[in-house]
Symmetry: D2
Subunit: 228 residues, 4 copies
């Protein structure tokens, strides 16, 4: 995958950092986008990536991001999500709206900007990071279900429309917590009880490399011990 490039939107620690490292290790040029690029310094150093500040819910910011990229990315991953939780009656309307816009609408904006370039070139992969909430609406979590169900609808619709144009669209149902060093649940989940970001990233990369005669649109990933 030398001479190819990746753009990871919603970059921080965890999955996005693993993706950046594995893309860089595979010889890809890496671009990272996040609202706050300060937190990306170490990752930029490790991977030689370019970092771009971008609010994915702002159409002009998204367009500016893509205009600034040195190359049309071959591989774009949309990770951002936002969520507000709690008893339904206590949810704040503005936060619910933000959840929808960050989790789903931003996915549309990034997808459209990416595809304008990919379709012109005739190839590319566009992957969306989902969650348990993408396929199951949990109590006290209606806003996140709205956003993640919506993102899945976007990904499925795009797959139907754009795969025949040689654009690989995939949706990942990450069904469990991703391990973070700061997460207090880690130890109590036991060995390998939370998803290792590197392990998830390996499946993203595998799916990016699939031959187009056998493309995956959707895949589920969860820890061996996860209840589902």
């Amino acid at each position: 995958m030398t001479n190819s490039s990746a753009l990871i939107v919603g970059a921080g620690s965890g999955l996005s950092a693993s993706l950046a490292r594995q893309c860089a290790a595979a010889g890809m040029q890496v671009a990272l986008a996040a609202r706050n690029v300060d937190k990306l310094k170490d990752l930029v150093k490790q991977t030689g990536a370019q970092a771009y500040a971008c609010d994915a819910t702002d159409p002009s910011a998204v367009e500016k991001l893509f205009s600034a990229l040195k190359a049309t990315p071959d591989f774009v991953v949309y990770n951002p999500s936002y969520r507000v939780r709690g008893p339904f009656l206590e949810l704040d309307g503005g936060e619910v709206r933000k959840t929808l816009l960050v989790t789903a609408y931003g996915g549309f904006l990034v997808a459209q900007a990416a595809l304008a370039r990919m379709v012109a070139r005739g190839s590319g992969s566009l992957f969306f990071t989902g969650a348990s909430a993408s396929v199951k609406g949990y109590a006290q979590s209606a806003p996140f279900a709205m956003g993640k169900f919506g993102l899945r609808g976007l990904a499925q619709s795009m797959a139907r429309e754009l795969q025949p144009k040689n654009i690989h669209v995939a949706h990942f149902v990450i069904d469990g917590g991703i391990r973070q060093q700061s997460d207090p649940r880690g130890p109590q989940r036991g060995a390998d009880g939370m998803l290792e970001p590197d392990a998830i990233a390996e499946t993203y990369l595998h799916i990016h490399r699939q031959h187009r005669s056998a493309w995956t649109w959707e895949v589920e990933l969860r820890p061996w011990v996860e209840t589902f």
Copy 2:
């Protein structure tokens, strides 16, 4: 169902008018909400309903609507949707945002205002009108899929949280075109080839009347000749 009341949001012709008539015929007080109430004159005359102007995506307008109601509704139906269609690259970002807000976010606002009153009383039904796009993302229709998938996530999450509080939450997958006199597809679909609004409304009313030991969360409705 005498002494009970219904609120139909997104009222116009078609399904909402059939619902209004059947609720009125069953002895319920009926309230209708729509952005434009001028079109509701005939329906108001037929059903004795009260009509209220309301933009369901505006939190203060939704709150004002509920404050104006003469009684806490026993039965609330959220119908509004908006859609923009077309090749993915030609979609207008503002229209996509509006699709999400009308189709999904407005459902949240109405649900929250309704539930604040229903939970206080300890009972109520809250139904959401979905579409084929609620469960299948079609090509050239990503925005509607985003909105309708999102609405379904809302309904499922609310069912899990609120049914144990005696609030019946249901989601209807209307998988086909609803017959309208003006629809040119009607004749070519053949006899009963499009959903009759009265027939759909009968199933809504049946589900509203279900005993709580056997509540439906989701039901599909489609014409006998529909391909699916």
Copy 3:
């Protein structure tokens, strides 16, 4: 529904008895089929039904049943199921096979015999009783999941093929325990915590009566307090 007739396969107590009573009350002639008809005496007396002994997994027994019916049934419900549970390694192969044959294969045999008559007449309803296991494979319950998933595949395939021939095919996901007087879980589930058979039957009858412009293929039913 006078002058019409119903056949309930897998008749005993519970849902099938409620269906028989409601069909009889609606003026339908009722036929009941079960492996053991002795247990049907009271129900026969209450409903004026004819009872037929039939092993639904035996093609010739199914054919004999339909030949013995006084009229082509307008409404056929397939209820039988069998299950073996337990740790996967302890499951008995013969019991697993029986689970598949009773739960799914018998559904095929009854459906085919019913349809041969319904298609000739040009109308009819054929309904299948599913369970939580129809859409979710639980641990320690693989055989039942195999059977009920299989029955759902049958029902969906038949809906696609036969609804355009005016045969209404529907599948019911009964997601929870059906109340039986002998069931020790009843009291601990609290008020209306298990599905009342009469309540389920009302939804079956409603769906049987639907206008063909708005047919339901699948509907879920569960108690208001059920976790799902």
Copy 4:
């Protein structure tokens, strides 16, 4: 994966042959099982595999197969399926029964025999090959839908029960035709319009190698140009 071994049940040409070659290339010992082992001669020569005659629907034959294996397999794939198609009323009952037994019941028998050995050792992968019919019941194809839905129910139930015992259970939805040299549809589907068996096998092997913190239970694979 040196010193590990694979068993491919339902071996012939196509996917199973690709799996055998990729397993052998990765250093695994390969065992092949099929009703008719004569057709496996070339594959045996290419891969150094052992071939075993086995009717997967016969419990004693399955047990005999596992007893004959030189090692407990680390990786077992269940491929067999059988199908009868046609207008519902013309389906032969015996063929429908065979479809269920080969497609679903054989999967149970092989899974149980494999797991008895894998659980004792404490690890293993057990993968099931599904089809479009695993998740969608097509007209004129009820028997295959029954069998493949049933197999999916088995796989899901096993995943819930056995993944916490370190047994990786996965289900593959192969949504499209697998290319075969003899298939007349090949050319008309265009470049990469049918699934390449080697491409499918690569995803099976990737999923077999996944870290257990991020296991896939289900994945879809289809050609880029496939309508879905």
